[in-house]
């Protein structure tokens, strides 16, 4: 390890953090604009042309706000909780490759912080740590609503984490490696979303629950919990919690793009490596629009149904998906490479069967009520 390498890491880490913070700022604007358009409004348009200075105005406002600490709160944990929430949300992106490598200042710069051979395992473990911040924020506030929000959030996040992990496993099986660069490389000809469409759907649904986005935003349910775990937070501490939430959205979309949508790969990326981050950004914008669209479209679902969906639908389905993936790949390797298409076919069959079972159950409940 040389001194130059250390400086390079620090600069790369700093640049990535700045990109994520800028991404957070403009994601809030993007969300407000997109929601406004969906609801036939204009959205923020006062601060700067098309409202592009709105995030900066919000940040300055929050810096100059008074910060309240409730009288009976656990002061240390109360102040620490936003940082504990923010750090995993940013650190999770360390293994996501934004491109292969480019030449800059006479050095070969890799477009990722770390290239570890257990990348997916790292993502899973850091994602689990993210629960702590939310629970600590809820518990240390000494507020009923905050604590209920924290509790709900922890139960919801751990329930959907299993489906998320199993969706990761289906991608690992297709690539045959846990290294993020290998997974991207394995999608050179075919994106995994085509080989494992149901696994991708499970991933996308579980991430909505994992980052507490609508329709799974039970921890924050404004109407019943006022704001959930961050009800007592104000000023910059609230901004950090908010930032963590949106950076989690960005991070998890980047992971989804890497695992199922070909990562930084696209046309001509081999000859022009700097195209990698651009393709990644395009995929991020599309995936994030999906999350915003879901928020604008679906009402929040009830907590018992949320947990039932996680445990009774997502878990068995994702187990079946993992098994189908393993069997399909073994068939393709040992009998005929074309048999790899049994994976999407059987997965879709399992998905359709699950939807039919849910439909049947709902009809039965309807009938029992009538």
């Amino acid at each position: 390890m040389t001194f130059a390498l250390l400086i390079e890491w620090l600069i790369k880490g700093f640049v990535l953090v700045l990109v994520l913070l800028g991404g957070f700022a403009y994601l809030t604007l993007y969300e407000r604009k997109a929601l406004a358009r969906i609801q036939v409004r204009i959205g923020p348009n006062r601060a700067g042309p098309w409202g592009i200075l709105q995030p900066i105005a919000d940040a300055i406002k929050l810096i100059f706000k008074e910060e309240l600490i409730p009288a009976k709160a656990d002061k240390l944990l109360f102040i620490l909780a936003p940082v504990v929430t923010l750090v995993p949300a940013l650190v999770i992106t360390a293994v996501v490759p934004w491109g292969s490598e480019i030449m800059m200042f006479g050095r070969v710069i890799t477009l990722y912080i770390a290239d570890i051979n257990v990348g997916v395992l790292y993502i899973m473990s850091v994602a689990s740590i993210a629960v702590y911040g939310v629970v600590l924020a809820g518990w240390s506030s000494n507020n009923k609503y905050a604590m209920m929000g924290g509790l709900r959030s922890s139960a919801q996040m751990i329930s959907y984490e299993m489906s998320l992990g199993l969706a990761f496993i289906s991608a690992i099986m297709l690539a045959g490696s846990m290294r993020m660069l290998d997974i991207v490389e394995a999608q050179r000809t075919l994106w995994f979303v085509l080989l494992q469409p149901v696994g991708t759907a499970i991933f996308l649904i579980a991430t909505l629950a994992e980052v507490n986005r609508p329709p799974f935003d039970m921890p924050e349910a404004e109407q019943e919990l006022t704001a959930g775990y961050h009800v007592e937070y104000s000023g910059m501490k609230f901004a950090l919690l908010f930032m963590a939430e949106y950076d989690k959205m960005i991070a998890i979309s980047a992971i989804g793009a890497t695992l199922f949508f070909g990562g930084f790969r696209g046309p001509f990326v081999d000859t022009y490596p700097w195209l990698g981050p651009i393709y990644m950004l395009l995929k991020l914008v599309i995936l994030l629009f999906g999350m915003i669209w879901v928020r604008a479209t679906f009402p929040r679902i009830r907590y018992d149904r949320l947990m039932a969906f996680g445990w009774k639908v997502m878990l068995p389905l994702s187990l079946a998906i993992v098994f189908i993936t393993a069997a399909g790949i073994l068939l393709a390797e040992q009998v005929n490479p074309l048999l790899i298409w049994t994976v999407p076919a059987l997965s879709l069959l399992a998905g359709v069967f699950t939807i039919a079972m849910i439909d049947r159950e709902l009809r039965r409940k309807e009938y029992a009520r009538a």
Partner: protein
């Protein structure tokens, strides 16, 4: 390999520094005029009744225990996901048996009503 983890450690330090700087900025520039009313727990303007942290429903513990059970399953599946090409049919059948054993427990918990919320 250790180098890569050092890079992650450097990244963690950078992110934590950003977090503390942001909190410091807020503490530096924000007004500090706390009153008793402001320091009360916020319950939409009502006076709070009872303590803020109370006993939590036992169901959350149950979910946590079930989570440990199935998360271990995911953890056991991870090495299999890497090695299943070498293990072949034998590995597939063995994994099937493993999943079935866990599914027995899963359906037991389901029928016992551990997954229902009242």
């Amino acid at each position: 390999m250790l180098l890569e983890y050092t890079a992650i450690a450097a990244f963690i330090i950078v992110t934590a520094a950003i977090g503390f700087i942001a909190i410091g900025l807020g503490m530096l520039f924000g007004p500090k005029k706390s009153t008793d009313k402001k320091a009360m727990p916020y319950e939409s303007g009502m006076n709070p009744i009872g303590p803020g942290t109370r006993r939590m429903p036992v169901h959350f513990y149950l979910i946590a225990v079930l989570f440990i059970l199935f998360d271990i399953e995911v953890v056991f599946l991870l090495p299999y996901a890497i090695a299943f090409r070498q293990l072949g049919l034998f590995g597939l059948i063995e994994m099937l048996i493993f999943i079935v054993i866990l599914l027995v427990g899963y359906f037991y918990a389901w029928k016992k009503g551990a997954l229902e919320w009242e």
